[in-house]
Amino acid sequence: MAKRRREFRILGMTPSEIFKEFISGSTGKVAMALFIILVVVSIYALIVLPPNFAEIWNNPKYWQLNPQYAPPAWMDSVIGPVYSPQIYVNNYEYSVQQSNGVTYITISFSVDYKYDKPWSEVFVVINNPAIYNLPQPPVLSITVYRPDGNEIVLGPLPIDRRVTTLGVVPEVVGQVNLFYAEKYHITGVAPEVVGQVNLFYAEKYHITGVVPTGSSATPYIFYTVDDGKLTPLKGVYNFRLVFYVFSQNASSLINREDLEIVLQGQIYGLMGTDNEGHDLWLGLLAGFPIDLAVGLLTALIIVVIAVVIGIVAGFYGGLVDEGLMRLTDFVILLPAFPLLIVFSVLFRWNIWYAVVFLAIVSWGASARIIRAMIMQIRNAQYIESAIIAGASRMWILRNHILPQIVPYILYLLVTNVPGAILTLTSINFLGLAGSEYPTWGILLYYAEVFGALTSGYWWWVVPPGLLVAFVAVVFILTAMASEPVVNPRLRYG
């Protein structure tokens, strides 16, 4: 006689039946689809982000070339060419000449300016420290050939650091002002009287300042004066940069790969940037692993505590039960959020402490459910028969009780995740319980602090919240869809 295969059943259903039941409703299908998306994006995030991402994120130098507060780059394709994009100039012409102990490195490239808002800055990046650390630093001179036939000569500027920011060098500001003074007779824009002169021009010619004090001169390279007003001058701009390196063997020191010219745009990346120029797309991606980890870990701790307490209380009964239920009532009543706030402030907790604390004050409701289930199962007749047959407590626990509560444990795990994520996002939004890795709540905190609301930086505010909602909704829908599985009373129609 063939040995009958023992079937694995939970709540009278095999796993495939459970899956069918789960997927049968529309909620189940949607939940399943969203869950797959969530998993795929999280894996993608883990692959794309470098392992030391937290370090990179917190290193302002890494992001200094990016524009600050820039909307996403796809804005231009929505509203037309308004903002200049970020451009990394790599395909420039490069030539080296030497004479009298000086090496001349000439770089020329052209950009097509067709936007309303010009590039906010030009960076010259030298990646080889040997060059800018020379005893006599190299000197850079720039000539810009504008589409209207004029040319602006900028420099000579000393290149004594890795990143030279063109527009903030006083000399460059002066030269740009001089250009406007000579060509358009806007004279005398000296830095110290710039306020008064700007006022004068504002009143006389309705020109509000050429280069306002404290601002970069770079955007003004791309303007002309038309009818007394500064207007963008569109067309092809040719840049010619000449480096004077005071060294005979500079050609061996410097090579093409060491030189990078970056035009800082007004829009950036898929999701824009924040106050430090962080690429928000990467920040949002990083939120997937960290927020999921935080939510799942909290839920896991909650469920572990709840199961232990629930089993002990339900199984032993009597005084133990009474005591544990008092404790559970207590924990349910604790005002978790205010306590989380005050301890995060007092102990300067990071997010992992907050996770543990949140779990410790949130297990009450789950423990009650587990206990109620065990009480119900314990009073069943088959348990009585098992006891009469001489089964030990552990045997009953292992063979009769645990298999029945496993689906509920999973269900509780799922239901506890969204609450945990929402609470921890809220606490992050207050600037508490921070982490090295940017969570969505932390992104929102900085957005609020740096005036995203009063300045309308929607790209900084909307996506993180949407993602929090997305993750929470995935788990809520999963819980909803698994309700008919764990609660057979709901299995109808």
Binding site: S26, T27, V30, R326, D329, F330, L333, L334, P335, A336, F337, P338, L339, I341, V342, F343, V345, L346, F347, R348, P418, L422, T423, T425, S426, F429, L430, G431, L432, L444, E448, V449, L453, T454, G456, W458, V461, V462, P464, G465, V468, A469, F470, V471, A472, V473, F475, I476, L477, M480, R489, Y492, G493
Partner: protein, 369 residues
Amino acid sequence: MGLARTLAVRAATLVILLFIVLFVISFALAGPASEILKDEIMMETKSIIMNLMLHGHYNSTQIQQLQTQIMTQLENAYGLNKPPVIRTLYIMYNMIVFNWGYSYFPSEYGNVGGGKVVDIILSALPGTILLDTFGILLSALIGIEIGLRSALKYGSRSDRAVMYYAALSNGIPQWWLGIVMLLVFAFYLSQIHSPISFPVGGIISPKYYNLWLTNPLKIFTIPQAVLDLLWHFTLPLITVLIINVGGWAYFARTVVLSISQEDFVTFAKIKGLPEGHIVNRYIMRPAAPSILTSVFITIPFIIFGGFLVTEMVFHWWGLGYVYNIAIVGSPVPDLPVVVALTYASTLLYIVIIFIMEIVYIILDPRLRE
């Protein structure tokens, strides 16, 4: 007798809870967290010394002496020289007698009551009560109505829509929706010079602010001020409604669904009773108590969850916003305010829970016997 005993046990539990929370906070403040206090004393001393150096003529040794003198004086004033146990008890005692001290940065709170923490918190209560009462009651009313309708049309398209809406509204952080509402209806509407736009926050216009802080009831006698308050109230209220209606609807739907599966309902249907009759007499009547009681029981949990942060986003002068100022708005965490707020929240919370439980017992006849 049974009822009184139940209530007494409950009250005792809640008081013990309050004491434990109070003890834990005080202990944390007295023991491990005293480092923060020391840092703050250091800062205070430095600022005093700076002032002395600017306005007086002292040499460096005198300054040194003064600094140590001020430090020890301040430490004594804060009780840092006493052992932690004594300090814990001392802090607990002060909390219980509502001697909550003074804020470090009274100007951040508009100098309410000269920076007395009790006065700051009292001035924040009306705002919280206003937003929470209206927000919760209105959303419960609308939500339960929607839930009933969708449960009676179980499986229909509108029912499924309600389900998804409930899932979505439970997943969206309420305060984030507040930010989006502010962005759209306050920022962008005023950007495009729309005739109607909403304020970017605050509970009332600046000219009425002082009146609100000192005597909020008087506001309701001035028609313009009431209109102004309503204008500020609109966005927070809509935000709260959008988020909370879904949860109530889902809950009411579940209750009504489980009752409409009972045998007596089926029997009424078989008898051929009219549909409206079945709904009113056979479904609604048993569903009402359990829906209402759960409304009351969940109120404190809702208030001290999302509502606090929503107040912060809208700069709504309530407990949440005061929290925000104390944590984020101040140069260093404003400890007296944070700690007192947590204690006040816990106190308020257990009072609400106790009232709700009395209501619960009144509503549910089974508990009275």
